[in-house]
């Protein structure tokens, strides 16, 4: 790294910087110095850095143009370490800190001498609008290659390759009045609203609140305006009902006054957040604000004039020149030419002159400008060239001269001789464009106003706009509008405002502006030197003209064709000029060409802030049962079922394994399956949804919502039920038990619990409010432990006082009593086909009961099993899993479950009518069958497609697919469940499953029940 350079463009006095302290920083590896109060941009200008980037498409050298969020060129990559990399930072918005390290985003491999520059120069003429679409579209297979190259060359910035060390979080905020932008209008509005007692939030994107007043020549109460700012901020800071958020950008304005604010809390201090009291501070915070009223006081962006060579470093916005001089103590050049269409631009020349630099000339497009500003410039002895404009900037890496000529705006031509004025800086002002971005996020269409030559926001309910965003620019008027907006907003929220006395502002006589956007050149636009409209996306006036010639008439289409206003730029500087050029070419007015609609986000937001704390361990809730710790300690592998973590299988150490090697999943599952079939296994079934149903009409309700009958289910009995949607398709299943005549306990699938409760409420609240029944979720209240297998009875008998005799406690009965000393409800239902008891206890006792079962279960070979074993065992019995055998297109009849359908129930239960539609009656519907692979060693792939003739030409007609497939340890064979067209009539047929690797499996269609077809084992 070389020696620091001098701040040769730093002024000796003035500005809001602290010259007593020096900060060092690097840009593209070169060391520089600046001061606290600088932005990276002002510090670069102070050091005379002209080129900050290479342009996106043509790779032309680019310098700093603006002083705020609208900056199109000075977009840098920030970060002194890999983990701290941040792309797309605007140097104009980045406060300087000690050690800041930045580099150009564009300009591979070197911003000063650029390889792409050659391509840009050669390729420029070959890169018209639509270039990417036209050139790189064919052949399609090459796109990946092109894209890689284009991206690298275009340099869109890069994300860090290491984990972000920083923390981000979200705040849910609510307020009566949200003020966006704390310039003159915003502060006045905030003051008025705050004095009413309303809850007020004020967000401002800059390092300091005050907006343009911080760099203003104007006075309030005969003092410089920044003193009024300080007083107002003091008062607001002292109000308990006011939250001030500096360094906070309102990036998105969503429905119903929901605004997202991106607060950068430490980015002005260092590139990773400092540690304080042992905690890394929060780097950025996303405020999710629900505001009663929103006051938009977002101001206006100055609009540059579009002239040839307007992208050469040294071309700047007039207002930015003033800001750098007055706020940052930097004169970004020595010799200025100002090209303006209005009075506001004059301030730059006056500030420049006061800073001790040379104003070569003010070039005013108006024939006979007359106002206090013009008089002030004349009084300073500044030369004013009227009826003229800078038609071209000369220079390559920095402006060397301005070519100035008389112009005829109406005829769009140069109307006089051209003179060349030597200078290093050209400031331009084409008036202001209100910052209507946020307003336009709401969907409100902006309105064009000829008098201010700009769009003002269309407004929706609950929004007030004031000041620059409203096209109001005179300071006295801005303040008055701000106060009025504050009063209105507070009043709308029921807060009356006490008096707000406005400070007296100077009344300067203002002359009318002229509407000038693109400046004519001696040559026609298509053949002349490039005139840039959108500097960030390298869109030229010629490009827009070409687009209109190619038939694009809507501004939305022109935008997409040329890329104008794309990406992080969002058309801040270029959109209005682009529309004006399109309007000129199409011979229409600007509002006829269209309005301009902006999208969130206003400026880039780091992913960290969007994510907040919803990352890593807190990305999504993990739901645990009361037995979770036991599963963890037992070494279970877990499966995600919805948000639940369920034990999937419990791999054991392999017998005799050195270094503690564990069983594979297949080994563990085979062992668990056999333990259940031969001894006894235990499953944590607590995740099943449980709904407590009470009321005299509970039974009637069940009969309407389930497909099967419930009229005769006696107290003490359980029944399996199937649920359909009204389209006749299966949506859930489970066992419901009759606890008392008016009291049932419904179980649902693990994943379906919340949705089924809502489903029951839906029917009760909307269609059947006359039924007296209530539903409450008791899923979490109960822990459910399933012991299953031939030894289950013996095990339970050891620790329970319930009479387990097979004749008094039958299959599909439930009983209550004590298990391990804990009150329990025990259900004799089975999902494995074995003798099964489902023990339900209050969840706080679950661990004790589970451990007691293991204490007594060892001698019976009690084996914990997970969801995979459960799936194998139930499939051997042909029991469906909703969501696996079904997919929303499967009826009970498709499943062969007519036994579970009460066709003759008195009420037309949910799903019944649909079962007689022609489509659900079709004979070739996909029906559930079993598949036995001809080769018992084959385990078919779930999802594999089934064909009848494997020799058929591709595409083969597909008749179904495998829904479940496993290896069965008890059968020592692969087996599967599948849906096959007309499958119920195809038992014994052979089908084929062609696989991606060229193999074709053969399988026989069989019954869905592979094991214990008579169902004797569960009854023992």
């Amino acid at each position: 790294m070389s020696q620091s350079k001098q701040q040769v463009f730093r002024l000796n006095t003035g500005g809001r910087i602290d010259r007593s302290r020096t900060l060092s920083f690097t840009f593209n590896g070169q060391r520089y110095q600046g001061h606290p109060g600088d932005t990276l941009a002002s510090a670069l200008l102070a050091n005379g850095v002209d080129i900050v980037n290479r342009s996106f498409k043509y790779s032309r050298p680019r310098g700093i143009v603006a002083a705020g969020a609208e900056e199109p060129n000075a977009i840098v990559q920030l970060g002194s370490s890999e983990a701290a990399q941040v792309p797309n930072v605007r140097a104009t918005q980045q406060a300087l800190y000690e050690g800041l390290a930045a580099s150009s985003t564009n300009g591979w491999p070197n911003v000063q001498r650029d390889l792409m520059g050659l391509f840009g120069k050669l390729g420029g003429q070959f890169m018209p609008p639509g270039f990417y679409y036209k050139t790189f579209m064919a052949p399609a297979s090459m796109w990946l290659t092109y894209e890689k190259y284009i991206r690298k060359a275009a340099g869109l910035g890069r994300s860090p390759m290491e984990a972000d060390p920083d923390n981000y979080n979200h705040f849910n905020q609510h307020c009566d009045v949200l003020v966006v932008g704390a310039g003159a209008a915003g502060l006045a509005a905030a003051l008025a609203a705050a004095r009413s007692g309303a809850r007020v939030m004020v967000a401002d994107e800059q390092e300091e609140m005050g907006g343009s007043l911080l760099a203003s020549r104007e006075t309030l109460e005969d003092k410089l305006a920044d003193q009024w700012v300080a007083r107002v901020l003091d008062e607001l800071a002292g109000c308990e009902n006011v939250t001030l958020l500096p360094r906070t950008t309102a990036n998105g304005y969503h429905d119903h006054n929901f605004v997202t604010l991106h607060e950068r809390r430490t980015e002005h201090l260092s590139d990773t957040a400092p540690v304080e009291n042992g905690h890394r501070q929060v780097r950025a915070r996303l405020h999710r604000v629900r505001a009663g009223q929103v006051i938009l006081s977002t101001g206006a962006h100055e609009r540059p004039l579009v002239y040839a060579g307007n992208d050469v470093p040294g071309n700047m916005l007039a207002g930015a020149v003033s800001t750098y001089i007055r706020r940052y103590g930097v004169a970004p050049g020595r010799k200025l030419v100002l090209s303006t269409s209005n009075d506001y631009g004059y301030r730059a020349a006056l500030d420049w002159k006061e800073a001790g630099c040379e104003v070569v000339a003010i070039v005013d497009a108006r024939e006979a400008p007359a106002s206090d500003w013009v008089d002030a410039a004349r009084a300073q002895g500044i030369k004013i060239i009227t009826g003229s404009a800078v038609i071209e900037a000369k220079g390559s890496n920095r402006v060397t001269a301005a070519r100035v000529a008389k112009i005829d705006i109406v005829a769009f031509k140069v109307s006089g001789p051209v003179q060349e004025l030597a200078c290093d800086t050209i400031a331009s002002s084409g008036g202001y464009s209100p910052v209507i971005h946020l307003a336009s996020h709401t969907g409100a269409r902006p309105t064009w106003r000829d008098d201010i030559i700009g769009f003002v926001p269309g407004l929706v309910k609950g929004v007030q706009a004031c000041g620059g965003v409203n096209g109001t620019y005179a300071l006295g008027d801005v303040l008055a509008e701000g106060v009025e907006a504050g009063i209105k907003a507070a009043a709308a929220m029921g807060h009356a405002v006490q008096t707000v006395t406005l400070p007296s502002a100077e009344r300067l006589q203002q002359g009318p502006a002229v509407a000038l956007f693109q400046v004519p050149h001696e040559k026609p636009t298509l053949r002349g030197p490039k005139q840039f409209v959108d500097l960030q996306n390298d869109v030229t006036a010629a490009g827009i003209e070409l687009a209109t010639r190619e038939g694009f008439e809507s501004i939305e289409h022109i935008k997409r064709y040329t890329a104008m206003g794309f990406g992080t730029d969002q058309g801040k500087l270029g959109n209005i000029n682009g529309m004006a050029i399109a309007a000129r070419c199409l011979k229409r007015s600007i509002p006829e060409v269209g309005t301009t609609v902006f999208r969130p986000n206003y400026t880039p937001v780091t992913f960290g802030a969007i994510v907040g704390r919803h990352c890593r361990d807190l990305f999504d809730p993990e739901r645990y049962t009361a037995l979770h710790q036991w599963h963890v300690e037992r070494g279970a592998e877990f499966e995600d079922v919805g948000q639940w973590k369920r034990p999937w299988y419990y791999p054991q150490k392999r017998a005799g394994a050195v270094n503690g090697e564990r069983e594979s999943m297949a080994e563990a599952v085979a062992r668990e399956c056999l333990a259940v079939r031969e001894k006894v296994g235990i499953l944590d079934a607590s995740t099943l949804g449980k709904i407590d149903i009470q009321g005299p009409d509970a039974r009637e309700f069940l009969a309407r919502i389930y497909t099967n009958k419930w009229e005769k289910l006696a107290v003490g009995k359980c029944r399996y039920g199937l649920m359909c949607k009204d389209d006749g398709m299966v949506t859930d299943d489970g066992v419901t038990s009759c606890l008392a005549d008016n009291h049932f306990l419904m179980t649902t699938t693990t994943g379906g619990a919340a949705a089924i409760l809502e489903w029951l409420e839906l029917w009760h609240q909307t269609e059947w409010p006359e039924l007296d029944v209530y539903f409450s979720s008791v899923t979490d209240h109960w822990a459910t432990m399933t012991i299953t297998g031939p030894e289950a009875r013996k095990l339970l008998a050891e620790i329970s006082d319930i009479d387990l005799d097979r004749d008094s406690f039958k299959f599909m009965d439930w009983r209550s009593g004590k298990v391990a000393g804990v009150p329990a409800r025990v259900f004799r239902i089975s999902f494995t086909g074995e003798l099964t008891f489902e023990i339900n206890v209050q969840a706080n006792y679950a661990m004790h009961v589970w451990q007691t079962l293991f204490k007594h279960g060892e001698k019976y070979g009690l084996t914990p099993y997970g969801t995979e074993t459960m799936h194998v065992l139930r499939a051997e019995k042909g029991f469906i899993i909703v969501g696996q055998e079904t997919d929303g297109s499967v009826t009970p009849e498709d499943l062969g479950m007519q036994w579970c359908v009460g066709y003759d129930k008195p009420y037309s239960w949910i799903g019944k009518r649909a079962l007689t539609r022609s489509d659900t009656k079709r004979e070739n519907r996909k029906q559930l069958v079993g598949l036995r692979p001809k080769d018992p060693k084959v385990v078919l792939e779930e999802g594999a497609q089934i064909v009848l003739d494997p020799k058929h030409a591709i595409p083969m007609p597909m008749v179904g697919h495998v829904t479940s497939s496993y290896y069965s340890p008890i059968l020592d064979s692969g087996f599967a469940l599948a849906v096959v067209k007309g499958g119920h009539q195809k038992l014994g047929d052979t089908v084929y499953l062609p696989m991606a690797d060229g193999q074709t499996h053969e399988a026989e269609i069989v019954s869905t029940i592979f094991y214990d077809p008579k169902g004797e084992r569960q009854h023992v």
């Binding site: 929060v282 979720s777 209240h781 000393g821 969840a843 006792y845």
Partner: protein, 211 residues
């Protein structure tokens, strides 16, 4: 007596119980920031939680007679008895949450059922399915702003209010029984997520967790 099954899920014997946060204490600990902590977290474990369903007029009389406090009829209302140990919270126009000292829930349910007779109502014991976490300290409101989407500003959330709302990506019931104390009622299966969320959000203020 309504035709519903009642079931006392508690037992008097010295059988060990585990609150919904038992696993979380072992996994994440119970941080002790010591003196300067701006936040206190305390689980009130093993309380009795009942869900009451029915018409307000029907239930009100029974609740007043049995529990000595009146049923809150206004949305989002939370009422407590003089000791603050027993509370009823409005959850919906026909649903209330009753929280009482652990062990009182079954006798309470029994008495309410006797009192309500053949009226149409429902009572569900959910004591094992949720737990109550108290939050106090000067940073409590800021912690809650990071946690729940509901507006917790005192002007909007006075003492005596309680709502069901979104907690991170889960849900919670949040209540304000007194000026300086908030309560979260969280579901057992989400308890560990909620606890880790709260510890994470609380870290910057320093937090004392009382077990």
């Amino acid at each position: 007596m309504s035709n519903a099954a009642t079931f006392d899920t508690r037992t008097d014997t010295a059988i060990p119980v585990e609150s919904p946060l038992a696993y979380s204490y072992r996994r994440s600990g119970a941080p002790q920031a010591g003196g300067p902590s701006r936040l206190q977290l305390r689980e009130r474990a093993m309380l009795g939680h009942l869900i009451l369903r029915g018409g307000a007029i029907v239930l009100d009389e029974a609740v007043r007679d049995v529990l000595g406090i009146s049923l809150p009829g206004q949305p989002q209302a939370l009422v407590q008895d003089a000791s603050g140990e027993r509370s009823i919270q409005w959850l919906s126009p026909d649903e209330w949450l009753v929280i009482v000292p652990g062990g009182e829930e079954f006798p309470l349910e029994t008495k309410l059922r006797e009192h309500l007779g053949s009226a149409h109502f429902a009572i569900s014991d959910v004591s094992g399915g949720q737990t109550l976490v108290e939050i106090s300290g000067e940073a409590a409101r800021e912690l809650l702003m990071k946690t729940v989407i509901y507006d917790v500003h005192p002007s909007h959330f006075p003492v005596g209010k309680g709502v069901t709302t979104v907690f991170g990506k889960a849900t919670t019931i949040i209540r304000r029984p007194s000026e300086d104390r908030w309560e979260l009622v969280i579901r057992r299966s989400f308890a560990d997520y909620c606890y880790r969320w709260l510890l994470d959000a609380a870290a910057e203020y320093g937090v004392n967790v009382q077990q």
